[in-house]
């Protein structure tokens, strides 16, 4: 019975977004975002799948072959301790990509909840949450992260939390604006008239309308998180060895910049390509939304 009762509201929600363009049309309209999506899939497959066929160890040092050029045994040469550079890039990539994804989850969950609740209930909740958002955004991200890392240390879980909790205010602002935009619509009022409670109205009626915005900001936040984590690792304050992320490899490489500049080029290039792809994909989704009612 309850399902039938809420149906009119559901239909009104569908009416707002009349057609879903097919995959082919999306690719033609947003070629850069499509290319970025392909590159991202490729990067993830390589980082998580390549060790199945490429068996070099990322931690096995060989003092007789330090800073070696590429060879059949070491496709990208070796680093300052004679460890295989390609294997290190793969395992470092796992750390970087996973930190990015987990930190995104943290910022999206916290930011969505804060933005949704403050935008929907307004009043004192909104005032308090939005002031906190302002305050966190007023502290330049890196300074706040330095405070947190100096207090709580740099275990992987802490790095993920710290990076994620720096981005949530940006997510909260976007979700807050979306919820404000949708909460006044007729279909929400219809739901209310049919007896839906506030949490049902917010999570089943209003928030689903914000999904594309949340998706876009989530994708951008993965890129941002990877960038921030690698910056932190570059400063020597990120995840500690032997778990070397791309940023940590870059920090190492700077010591050998005269002897082997290539060591500094590869990890940076991978960070750059990953973030570039996340940004193009996130922007593409944001663009495709701007054509929506």
């Amino acid at each position: 019975m309850a399902r039938v009762m809420t149906d009119p509201a559901g239909m009104a929600a569908v009416e707002v977004e009349p057609s879903r363009p097919g995959l082919g049309r999306m690719v033609r309209r947003y070629p850069l975002a499509a290319a970025a999506a392909v590159l991202l899939i490729l990067l993830h497959v390589l980082v998580f799948g390549l060790p199945l066929v490429y068996h070099a160890s990322p931690t096995l040092a060989n003092p007789l072959a330090t800073l070696a050029p590429p060879s059949a045994g070491h496709l990208l040469g070796t680093d300052e301790l004679g460890r295989d550079e390609l294997a290190r890039l793969i395992y470092g990539g796992r750390v970087s990509l996973l930190v990015g994804l987990f930190a995104m989850a943290v910022s999206v969950v916290v930011g969505t909840l804060a933005g949704a609740v403050s935008g929907f209930f307004r009043g004192a909740t909104e005032l308090v949450v939005m002031r906190i958002v302002d305050a966190v955004m007023a502290i330049p991200a890196f300074f706040l992260i330095l405070v947190e890392v100096s207090v709580f240390g740099n275990a992987p879980a802490i790095i993920i939390l710290v990076v994620g909790l720096t981005y949530w205010p940006a997510v909260a602002r976007i979700v807050h604006a979306e919820v404000l935009k949708w909460r006044q619509r007729d279909f929400v009022e219809a739901g209310h008239a049919l007896g839906a409670g506030p949490s049902r109205l917010l999570f089943r009626h209003v928030l689903p309308q914000a999904t594309p915005s949340i998706l876009s900001v989530a994708i951008l936040s993965v890129g941002w998180s990877i960038l921030t984590e690698s910056g932190l690792s570059y400063l020597g304050l990120g995840i500690q060895p032997p778990l070397a992320s791309w940023g940590a490899m870059l920090q190492n490489a700077q010591t050998y910049i005269f002897a082997d500049p290539a060591l500094a080029v590869f990890p940076g290039l991978l960070i750059f390509l990953t973030i570039l792809s996340y940004n193009f994909l996130g922007n593409g989704i944001a663009d495709s939304m701007s054509h929506r009612g």
Partner: protein, 315 residues
């Protein structure tokens, strides 16, 4: 307008208080308490003496109020590393960061605004696609990597510029020498904010160019350049002023990395060093000063915006 001014300053102060509460709260959450960190080799009695000296035996809210009382008189405590007041160390470092950030901002305004206008004039053209594409590329380049690449190219390979520092040690300080050292860090920091200025100018200019009064100006037969620079530019640049306020956190945050790459003796590098050494008063001092700078510049930008744009009514 006066009411707006009062309200805006009021929110600024509330935000600032929240910034100090967040920072202080985080600092107080340190496991083991800050007294352990001063020195790991302290005996229990020494630690008790330190705890009393720094007032660490008080509850957190009491310590916060005490700290705030000191802070408003310009006393942010004593650095563990330097054994000097935090404010005096910051006073030495701040001008260096200001020089770097201001140069970077000036560069990105000078380069970014013309690029944004060019892209907005020919929306959908190849030039527009190139400019917007490059701004996404610019946003995605890790600044520490770009800095490293610059060092490899300009300092190691071409030997045009010094690798790091602010002046050559031992040599007399001249403007030319300072500029040589400033060139790489300022360009890298500039690229961190340039994409935002380009995008914002482009979208603001594009909105204005679609307005009726621009069509009227074209219909009157005015030269396109005159319409663009005399009619459109003024209105298009007003919102751009507000982005400059938004870029201050990015500039200060970017300075942390850029100063570390190029060993520039500013606040950012100080913050990294303080975080590494767990110099709590210093980390906290730098963060709060950064927050104050951001909140004050945003306030100034908002007020400037109100003055520049008479269309906006402030109730």
């Amino acid at each position: 307008m006066t009411a707006y001014l009062v309200r805006r300053v009021g929110t600024g102060i509330v935000t600032l208080l929240l910034v100090t509460m967040i920072t202080f709260g985080l600092m107080s959450a340190a496991p083991g308490g800050p007294a352990v960190i001063v020195s790991m080799t302290t005996t229990a009695s020494q630690r008790a003496a330190l705890t009393a000296e720094y007032g660490l035996n008080q509850p957190v809210p009491v310590r916060y109020v005490l700290w705030l009382e000191h802070a408003v008189t310009g006393n942010l405590g004593t650095s563990f590393d330097y054994s000097e007041p935090v404010t005096s160390v910051l006073g030495q470092r701040f001008p260096n960061t200001a020089l770097l950030a201001f140069t970077a901002l000036a560069l990105s305004v000078i380069i970014g605004i013309p690029l944004g206008i060019a892209a907005a004039r020919r929306r959908g053209s190849l030039l527009d696609a190139l400019i917007t594409g490059f701004s996404t590329v610019g946003l995605s380049i890790p600044d520490f990597w770009l800095g490293t690449l610059f060092i490899i190219l300009f300092a190691v390979t071409l030997r045009w510029l010094p690798v790091s520092g602010m002046t050559t040690v031992g040599a007399p300080v001249t403007a030319g020498n300072l500029l040589e050292h400033l060139a790489m860090p300022a360009s890298v920091l500039c690229l961190a904010v340039l994409p935002n200025i380009v995008r914002f100018t482009r979208s603001s200019m594009a909105t204005v160019l679609d307005l009726d009064y621009i069509r009227t100006a074209h219909a009157k037969g005015l030269a396109p350049a005159r319409v663009l620079f005399r009619h459109a530019l003024k209105n298009a640049l007003i919102p751009v002023v507000s982005t400059i306020g938004l870029l201050v956190p990015a500039l200060l945050g970017g300075s942390v990395i850029v100063e570390s790459v190029f060993a520039w003796p500013g606040m950012g590098r100080l913050a990294v060093q303080a975080a590494t050494d767990r110099d709590y008063p210093m980390v906290m001092g730098v963060t709060i000063v950064a927050g104050v700078i951001v909140i004050c510049t945003n306030l100034v930008v908002d007020l400037l915006y109100a003055v520049l744009d008479p269309r906006i009514q402030y109730g």
